[in-house]
């Protein structure tokens, strides 16, 4: 509640500063000798407004980080808190309850100890809220006044505002990068913890996967943490079966769309294909589990297999391949379309047919882009979870038979994290090690793909 008020306050003060500064700039302009300012009045206004809003925002962020701590400290030092349980779950529950009542989120307390704490909580809340508002006003006033006093006819407000805007844009782009680094750091941290319990050799090269979340966490059975069956399942479903479907179909549809389709057909088929990319993967999962998997099992029975699994790598891989088609197709489409018309003319003028031209000139020339598209598609496929959960089961299985059930890295991450095991159990932590491996592989694939695309772009001016 209080950060929202502070934010609204900041914006209101900013608006006031904006209006005041603009009025001031107009006055300066009227009074100046040649009736000109070095910057437009709006720039002066923005300069003051930004100087009010940005420091206040910084304070609000800081304040909302430290205020809850200060408040609970104040509550705990009150006499009513003396007979709380020393630590742990119960103590936290009581505090949360009191807090909920004090802020008006809950009508009444259940625990009598909490009732005594409501009053101290209320006092602390209003005390620190007042401090927050006062400091906000103070900062806004000081920064605003400082900025306002700098306004002069020859003050380069435009340059300053442009510089601040650039800094804001830079900060926005850093958020994504910093988030990635943060994710990676947390993954690495947990992965190192996991490797402290199970050796990386056993994990990366072991061939049996079956962590037991109920086993003694202090002495894990390393032979149950061999991830090879998961890596194999991921590769087999995502990079082999799915690509056997997606590469030819995606490539052929791209060739049809760029070379044969007339504009009217293209304007229908291309968006329709792109809709495929927007279908939620859960929906593909239904399709794989309810339609494709039973059909494949029936087929296996017809072919003479005894007792085939109703969940199969083939079903998941086929549907995943269909899901990936738009990725391959649109990358291939772009790169074929980027081959200069002069190549096509050159080949046709040699007496080549359209088909020969596509096979011998256009596709080879577009190959780097196509390869990059395939790599991005693979990295998308091996990160896919839902289809595999629904159609290929969670049983790890090191097998080359596409009709058997199989599981992938992503599915096991979900399985390990959603179990009943405690958080510092190696079975749970193994999810982070799996995630780390997956992250590195997809990062590597994307990196290579981008490099390939970059090199290929240089080929034609």
């Amino acid at each position: 509640m209080s950060p929202t008020i502070l934010l609204l306050l900041a914006l209101g003060l900013g608006l006031a500063g904006w209006l005041a500064a603009r009025a001031r700039a107009w006055t300066l302009r009227r009074e100046s000798a040649d009736g000109r300012l070095s910057s437009l009045p709006t720039y002066h206004a923005w300069y003051v407004a930004l100087w009010i809003v940005l420091p206040v925002l910084a304070f609000v962020v800081l304040w909302s980080a430290i205020a809850p701590g200060l408040i609970s400290q104040a509550v705990l030092s009150s006499p009513a808190a003396a007979d709380l349980p020393a630590f742990g779950f119960q103590r936290q529950t009581i505090l949360n309850e009191a807090r909920a009542v004090a802020t008006g989120a809950a009508p009444a307390v259940f625990n009598p100890q909490a009732r005594d704490l409501v009053e101290p909580f209320r006092d602390a809340l209003s005390y620190y809220n007042t401090i927050g508002i006062v400091v906000t006003l103070l900062i806004a006033f000081l920064a605003g006044t400082w900025a306002f006093l700098r306004l002069k006819p020859d003050f380069a407000a435009r340059t300053r505002v442009e510089r601040i805007v650039m800094a804001i844009l830079l900060a926005a782009s850093l958020v994504a990068i910093l988030t990635t680094i943060g994710i990676l750091a947390s993954l690495i941290f947990e992965t190192v913890r996991f490797f402290g319990m199970v050796s990386p050799i056993d994990f990366l090269f072991g061939t049996h996967w079956g962590p037991d979340p109920m086993a003694n966490p202090d002495n894990p059975d390393a032979s149950r943490y061999g991830a090879i069956p998961l890596f194999w399942g991921t590769l087999f479903i995502g990079a082999i079966i799915a690509m056997i479907v997606a590469i030819p179909l995606g490539l052929m549809s791209a060739i049809y769309l760029t070379q044969y389709a007339n504009p009217k057909v293209r304007s229908w088929v291309k968006p329709a294909l792109e809709i495929l990319a927007g279908v939620p993967t859960v929906v593909y999962g239904y399709f794989a589990a309810l339609t494709i998997a039973p059909a494949i099992r029936d087929l296996a029975i017809d072919l003479g297999a005894s007792n085939p699994s109703s969940e199969s790598a083939l079903a998941a891989g086929l549907v995943m391949g269909v899901m990936i088609i738009p990725f391959v197709s649109s990358m291939a489409d772009d790169s074929i379309a980027a081959v200069p018309q002069s190549m096509r003319d050159g080949s046709l003028a040699m007496g080549a047919t359209t088909n020969e031209t596509i096979r011998r000139v256009l596709v080879p020339a577009a190959l780097p882009g196509i390869v990059a598209g395939v790599m991005l598609a693979i990295s998308r496929a091996i990160g896919e979870t839902m289809i595999v959960v629904m159609a290929a089961s969670t049983a790890a299985n090191l097998s080359g038979n596409p009709l058997e059930s199989m599981t992938t890295v992503t599915v096991q991450i979900v399985a390990m994290l959603t179990g009943e095991g405690s958080f510092d159990h190696p079975a749970t932590l193994s999810a982070f090690a799996l995630g780390f491996v997956l992250f590195m592989v997809t990062l590597g694939l994307n990196f290579v793909a981008l490099r390939v695309v970059k090199r290929y772009r240089e080929a034609y001016e």
Binding site: N262, P340, S342, M343, R344, D345, G346, S347, L348, A349, M350, G351, A352, T353, E356, R360, V361, P364, A365, A459
Partner: protein
Amino acid sequence: MTVVHENLEATDAKMSARDVSVFYGDKKAIDEVSIEIPTKYVTAFIGPSGCGKSTFLRTLNRMNDTIPSARVEGEITLDGEDIYRSKMDVVQLRARVGMVFQKPNPFPKSIYENIAYGPKIHGLAEGKDELDAIVERSLKRAGLWEEVKDRLQDSGTALSGGQQQRLCIARAIAVDPEVILMDEPCSALDPIATAKIEELIAELNGRYAIVIVTHSMQQAARVSQRTAFFHLGKMVEYGRTSDIFTNPLEQRTQDYITGRYG
């Protein structure tokens, strides 16, 4: 209408066009052009930008087919056969009438593969040795052999602009065409590379019927024996190159040659 000089000696016509008009949609780009392309000579098409000379050149091997809105009327024959008749095999036609483009457009393949492309798709060579021989002969005729014989496996796009254009000429020669169409082959090249291409055209003259579209009147004067002047989609004047440049019969030709416009 077209003024054709009367002092032209009779020659075998390799290709001839009668009343050829080309439309892009409703727009008429070429208006009833009639011309005979002699077997033994270099024929130059000159004229200001947009006069239709390139469009007309592209009708001679049906490259306009690749533009959906283009439509050709009239009759164009190669050795007396109508190339726009329905039974005509465009693949065969283009093997007999080769083309070199304005901007060098080697395929992003090796030098060897660039030359071998045509012979392979037309099945002209029976084995590796025969293919090697065709590649060597074509590169020699294009005057490129000495420069590239040690790096036939290098990419064709790594050559200089002038070398790329000679590679494209070698590529066209490799399928042993009867006619070679050149669409401003030197407009993207520097003067030295241009001089080499012009030398090459002089050497190829007599072996192939050559039609060259050019912006440069000096180039037309240097390389050709016949010149046709195009203006606004019409062929204005056609005759011996020396006559067109020294003694034009039409005022518009005179104006263009003396640099009055274009």
